[in-house]
Symmetry: C2
Subunit: 248 residues, 2 copies
Amino acid sequence: MNAMMTSDDFVAALREIGATRYHHLHPFQLKLQSGELSKAQVQAWALNRYYYQSKIPVKDAYILARMETSELRREWRERIVDHDGDAANPGGIEKWIALTDGVGLDRDYVLSGEGILPGTRFAVDAYVTFVRERSLLEAIASSLTELFSPNVIGMRVRGMLEHYDFISPETLAYFDKRPVQAKRDSDFALDYCVRHARRAEEQLAVLDALRFKCSVLWAQLDALDHAYVEPGRPPFDVWQPGLGGTSP
Amino acid sequence: MNAMMTSDDFVAALREIGATRYHHLHPFQLKLQSGELSKAQVQAWALNRYYYQSKIPVKDAYILARMETSELRREWRERIVDHDGDAANPGGIEKWIALTDGVGLDRDYVLSGEGILPGTRFAVDAYVTFVRERSLLEAIASSLTELFSPNVIGMRVRGMLEHYDFISPETLAYFDKRPVQAKRDSDFALDYCVRHARRAEEQLAVLDALRFKCSVLWAQLDALDHAYVEPGRPPFDVWQPGLGGTSP
């Protein structure tokens, strides 16, 4: 039988997971921000990550559907607005499409999802399934990777602007608002998890949910590294550098 | 609007998918059967594939649940018996555990599923989800990879026995009955798909289901190759050569 952690120890354990397992440490991410990737490899990253972006409001809708008070739903609904936009403001998904436009990918091809890696699809779909099938506490906990994104976003944007002549600030506009949104969202989710994990087992389930989510992000970069950086050829049906899907 | 294929053309299209996309062509598979892998790499393969084996009767149960006649269910039930065994005969899962025993993995560790790659879990779970959520025709079609396994099994078993001194015929007993079972099962499934794909769209859905299943098998070997063959280190929490999980 495990003892309950204090709130401080629990939060420290969550932050330790981020410090060691968040995808800012992944070799592909390090290559991306230090300018070691070719344009085609950056395109592959943008194309595959679009699928992840496109599923974020879907998983948030599953969370919304399971919340039982208007107060909670109003709070969580903001995430969907941030990604889907409203009459006045483009959402994160539209800004991600500006990014794939900016690196020269064909928009219809990106939206079709046709050329993405099976490893991307399996990992992202596993995330949506996790959120649907696990407890609400675990579903919310799986969003806690946002605790770790604000710092990393600054480093990634600076690195990409410095090293790639095909990347402009407009192309990376997606990231402009993310640090503020991510801080607001993850502060709320962290507070929710601290208050609702009332038994040791629930604290452990929260830690496991965050580890799971880190593996979802990590596996996406593994698949990119394997298919587009390491020697060999990408699997069937996926986007091939220089072939269909890039603008002329 | 697509035209309906003749049965012969439809079967030829299915076999063409196998000839080009089945995992007998995967670099990891070629290395496995030609003796190029270390014992630790063979252990990683056995450990991860156990997770796939363990989910086969689960996905077959979802198919069984959706069949509406005793005749169909009696036929499909054989697959579950083959993998789960009966009072007289060990099933395929038990024989796979003999394989993981044989290569020196700790049985409790294997059964726990703890050390498997996220890429393995995501791919296998995607297969189970596909079978649950798609049409019965597509679910049955996704089993058609068994059309291509009998030839490959012979080559794999001969290669492994020849090249690895830690592999015995007893260790590979799992494969003894598979060619006969796979032929019986895939003959039935092929006949079912030919008779029930009555529109061009259904034929295309069957072809897509087989492509999907090939990508499930392929992605599992991609994950093994990336984690255990290519330079770098395996992801978090997964089995590490020489560490916990191997018998002393």
